[in-house]
């Protein structure tokens, strides 16, 4: 079950403290066609709120923030061949990184799907 942030990112447990992270379908729609993605180095440490990645769309460059603190376990190599995966499948094949969480309780701050949907509707 995915968790969502106010910056329109999602997290999904892979196994234990290993979580997959991406941007939501709403976010990709707002960005427009993605032309390239700058992903972090594997093994670096991030704190919640740090700049983690940059998504360049036809319109502008957008920062993606680390939703939780942890270390980058892997990045989606497919995105360098096909950045448009983020548009086509933001919440599945267009995942950005996998993070090894430092502190599972940080997940409690995040929204579930229903609250995220409400959050988006309220801010339209």
């Amino acid at each position: 079950m995915k968790k969502y942030t106010k910056d329109h990112e999602w997290l999904e447990q892979v196994e234990g403290t290993l979580y997959k992270v991406g941007i939501t379908d709403y976010a990709q729609d707002q960005l427009g066609d993605v032309v390239m993605v700058e992903l972090p180095e594997v093994k670096i440490q991030v704190s919640a709120g740090d700049n983690m990645a940059v998504i360049e769309s036809v319109k502008a460059a957008s920062d993606v923030y680390a939703p939780v603190s942890g270390s980058i376990a892997s990045v989606n190599e497919q995105l360098s061949n096909d950045p448009t995966l983020i548009n086509a499948s933001a919440e599945k094949d267009g995942w950005l990184v996998e993070i090894q969480l430092d502190n599972k309780s940080e997940l409690d701050e995040l929204m579930n799907k229903a609250s995220y949907k409400e959050f988006v509707a309220k801010n339209e």
Binding site: G32, D33, V35, V54, V58, K59, A61
Partner: protein, 365 residues
Amino acid sequence: MKKTPLHSLHQELGGKMVTFADYALPVQYKSGLIGEHLHTRKAASLFDVSHMGQISISGDADQALAYVILTDFSQLKVGWGKYSVITNEQGGIVDDCIVARDQAQVIFIVLNASRKEVDIAVLQKAIPSSCQLTQYSNLALIALQGPQAEQALAHFFPQVTGMPFMTAIWSAYQNHQFRISRTGYTGEDGFEVSMPAEVAIDFCKSLLSLEGGELVKPAGLGARDSLRLEAGLALYGQDLTEQISPIEAGLLWTIPKNFRETGNFCGAQNISQQIAEKPNKKLVGLKPEGRVPVRQGAPLISSENEVLGEVTSGGFSPSLQAPIAMGYVKKGFAGLGKQVIANVRGKEIVCEIVKLPFVKHNYKK
């Protein structure tokens, strides 16, 4: 915020509306920017450009107009148009526009939306009181651009087949007067069509429904911008401003040779000086290394950290699958093949100065 005559059609087609020059216009539709861009280069796209200014000046205005719009009107024949610039006394560009002679004593001009009020004031002041300036706020304007634009438009106006580039005609369709010019802002063959506001939606729907909707597709401002950038065409407000001269902007070719000799036009002093001594900066094409787009406002520096200029337009080229940009670079550093460094969010991206256009033009010359 103003609406164009096609506003409800944009909503029906799922257009993502933004504000541009005070008008509500679609930045893209459902296909997305890249899809719309690529469709234009291989088939035909329909753009709503009704926000632009459409005016005519009637009477004996040639001489007066030639002072502010750098075109030799005495050489402009009926049915023909020309790309030109309106200048100020300092030799800066007030606007770029297409002027055309619709009748012996009627000049039709299409102006940029963000500048139309300024332009109209300049032109009104320049023409003698015996002449009349009319603004057509009841005319919609669309651009139909792409290699199949002629085929599409010929369904309604067979005479556009073989119509020469830069000519314009008025023609009746279903009892309404349409103005068609073989002009555009994408580098492709295409047309710009004016029609009464009340028939615009129906006419556009007819174009969009040709060949089951596969021939002509709607395209928004986003694709319009990426197409013109690939074509190396300047955008007023970014690449052209009142502080930039036509010489700096690479538009010397728009100034008739005899004008350059007599120097009898608005801003001639500075412009003639720049022609003689070469301008202090010039507009160049830039090809950034890698995939990161280099956008408007990015400073351009040398490897010794000297400021050389700045990027005025930039983005990602769907046709080339790479970033492209245009900007101003200081004299002495602006030669083809030279390198400049763009500062993008703290990162240094090397750019090569390249010839414009990035994608070759396909005008029906």
